[in-house]
């Protein structure tokens, strides 16, 4: 939607008003989470503990062999840290991301469509997932533990976290909004999420043939972790810029898919005729 010209000078521009909304949701959800501080901390630490099992697994693997392809222990820890931080970031800002399919099916999109905000952002951001803070913190700490704390490198890692988070989020989102086109897609949506997560956890050389093609297209684990690792090890501004452009391309694509799907929204197509 284009609303470049602002009819009412007192009202903030569309972008500012949307950012304000996101900030309001964010404050609100965080305050709500803090009200149950015990449960908040439990969820955050539970997630971190859960993730640690994975480190032990790789530590054992790498105590026997030195390299898998180009990946040593530190490289595997890098993609694991980035995947975790990106996943956390995506679920902090887009807390509703894995509810979208259900929201569409049960006709709950109505409430968002009645509000004067972009439906896509409004749905995605109106909730936050508390345990996602654990994933984010875990990813950042693991990165520093393995690669040390150099401000430049840390900043680069944070940049990757933001854009890989956006990319990861919009792939999961695309899996969810297939519901507009295919009806009940709970299984497919869950599968997409599983694929995205598990493809980002193994050294790139594990993937061959069709799957290799897949990780640079439909399930772009390549752009989420493998390319960032390459840029991290051999930095160039051009490569970083290109990566960000590709990430934004995916974001734009999923947004278009959503707008297209919205035309087919049935506001409660739970009703399935039975013969």
């Amino acid at each position: 939607m284009s609303t470049a010209v602002n009819p009412n000078p007192k009202k903030p521009s569309v972008i500012v008003s949307h950012l304000r909304l996101l900030a309001a949701y964010f404050r609100f959800n965080l305050a709500a989470a803090m009200e149950y501080r015990g449960s908040f901390l439990l969820q955050v630490f539970g997630m971190a503990l859960n993730n640690s099992a994975f480190i032990i697994f790789w530590a054992i693997v790498y105590s026997r062999i030195n390299h898998i392809g180009e990946y040593g222990f530190r490289e595997v820890m890098f993609i694991w840290a980035l995947a975790s931080a990106a996943f956390g970031f995506a679920h902090i800002i887009f807390g509703n991301i894995r509810q979208v399919s259900r929201i569409i099916m049960q006709g709950e999109l109505d409430a968002y469509l009645l509000q004067p905000k972009d439906v896509c952002l409004n749905v995605l951001c109106s909730r936050t997932e508390v345990s996602a803070w654990g994933d984010l913190a875990y990813g950042l700490i693991l990165f520093m533990a393995v690669w040390g704390f150099a401000p430049g490198e840390f900043l680069l890692f944070c940049t990757f976290t933001v854009f890989s988070g956006l990319l990861m989020g919009c792939i999961m989102f695309s899996g969810e909004i297939l519901t507009f086109f295919l009806g009940n897609t709970t299984v497919i949506s869950r599968l997409v999420t599983e694929f995205v997560i598990s493809f980002t956890l193994y050294p790139e050389s594990v993937f061959r043939g069709t799957v290799k093609w897949l990780i640079y297209s439909l399930i772009p684990a390549g752009f989420i972790v493998f390319v960032p690792l390459k840029i991290f090890k051999l930095f160039s501004w051009q490569a970083l810029g290109l990566l960000i452009l590709i990430d934004l391309g995916y974001v734009f694509g999923s947004y278009l898919l959503f707008r297209l799907g919205l035309r087919r929204y049935e506001s409660g197509n739970l009703i399935v005729g039975k013969l």
């Binding site: 939607m1 609303t3 009202k11 903030p12 008003s17 304000r20 909304l21 309001a24 949701y25 609100f28 709500a32 006709g107 999109l109 109505d110 409430a111 469509l113 009645l114 509000q115 004067p116 905000k117 972009d118 409004n122 009806g183 919205l262 035309r263 087919r264 929204y265 049935e266 506001s267 197509n269 009703i271 399935v272 005729g273 039975k274 013969l275």
Partner: protein, 361 residues
């Protein structure tokens, strides 16, 4: 542009259409699934679709400041129509303008200027108290802080919801929730309000309270109100004009005065006596009567119940009730309207040419 703004003149009053609808149609395609595994498999490979015509070629206008009742039995297409007017659903065909805006193309602009309440679907955050929901809504509708506080004070007072503001919505009763929902929909001072069955499932006292509030809203701020209902009482008490739809098509679009005179003239009286009586009042229609035994404290006894229809065009209701009271000891008496389904049947039989029109489409 299909519509022109043309102020008109009706009974000497200037009117301005605020909602204009023409040829509006909505079809749903639902997947038909046969039972069993084989059926599931077949529907996956070669899905069969069934087209449901929820709304078919509807046209009407609503004037500024009007309260319009959009009536029809369950499944008539009322909710579907409201969803298209508010930008939730894309129409299959037809034109809509609300406040001069196209609800699907200018959805966000329109949302600032309308309010919507669905009796069966909550728009408040379920786990939050209304007070917090209101605050979030103020952010969404970009209401400045001071204005917001004044508005909340005003609405909370008007709707008498002081004590409900801090209770999570999921813990409120239906009537309490509906009051909060309506108050929430008024926060941003909408020019038009859409209410989809706001009184459904409410008991009589609460229903009356909601109706009073709707009237008040209309009077205080000259808000245009588009109301759907399948409760005849809603039209009688609230509206000057009613549109009746059935099977997705408009059956009648008429002033409530005419409607009342022509079709709402029957009242149904259900009366119960402590012992059998014989009701012989000229001009009434006896629909049902029954004698039955009850186990009273003083042994077995017979009670008697009857249901009668009174044509208020020919009979004075008060007079009939008085006569009924005189027949014996009355245990219980209720007066109600004819169900909407029967009124629609009456409309069909009274206007055969219109009937033919509807079935042909």
């Amino acid at each position: 542009m299909a519509f022109e703004k043309r102020p008109g003149d009706r009974n000497g009053e200037i009117f301005m259409p605020i909602i204009e609808v023409a040829g509006l149609t909505k079809q749903f395609r639902t997947k038909v699934k046969e039972t069993g595994l084989k059926g599931s498999f077949r529907s996956l490979i070669m899905p069969e679709y069934l087209t449901v015509k929820a709304v078919e070629n509807i046209g009407f206008q609503v004037e500024q400041g009007e309260i319009l009742a959009f009536m029809g039995p369950n499944g008539a297409g009322k909710s579907t129509t409201i969803k298209m007017l508010t930008g939730i659903l894309y129409p299959t065909a037809g034109k809509i303008q609300v406040l001069g805006l196209n609800p699907t193309r200018n959805r966000r602009q329109l949302a600032f200027r309308i309010g919507t309440v669905f009796g069966q679907k909550s728009q408040l955050w379920f786990h939050l108290p209304p007070q917090d929901s209101f605050r979030l809504l103020a952010g969404i509708y970009e209401i400045p802080d001071r204005e917001f506080r004044m508005r909340v004070d005003y609405l909370v007072d008007l709707f008498d919801i002081w004590d409900l503001m801090r209770i999570p919505v999921r813990k409120l009763s239906l009537g309490q929730r509906v009051r909060c929902e309506i108050a929430a929909s008024l926060l941003h001072k909408p020019e038009v309000i859409f209410l989809d069955e706001p009184t459904i499932g409410l008991d009589i006292v609460v229903k009356q309270k909601i109706r009073d509030l709707i009237l008040l809203m209309n009077r205080e701020e000259r808000t245009t109100i588009f109301l759907t209902s399948h409760d005849v009482g809603d039209i009688e008490q609230l509206c000057r004009r009613a549109i009746i739809i059935n099977h997705g098509a408009v059956v009648l679009n008429e002033s409530v005065k005419n409607l009342k005179y022509n079709y709402l003239n029957y009242k149904i009286i259900a009366v119960k006596y402590s012992r059998p009586v014989s009701i012989q009042i000229p001009g009434i229609v006896k629909l049902k009567e029954k004698e039955y035994e009850t186990a009273a404290i003083s042994g077995e006894s017979m009670e008697y119940a009857a249901k009668i229809a009174v044509d208020t065009k020919k009979q004075n209701l008060q007079h009939v009730v008085n006569q009924l009271m005189g027949l014996g000891e009355v245990l219980d008496i209720t007066i109600s309207d004819q169900p909407l389904e029967e009124i629609i049947t009456a409309i069909y039989t009274a206007a055969p040419e219109m009937n033919a029109n509807v079935t042909e489409s």
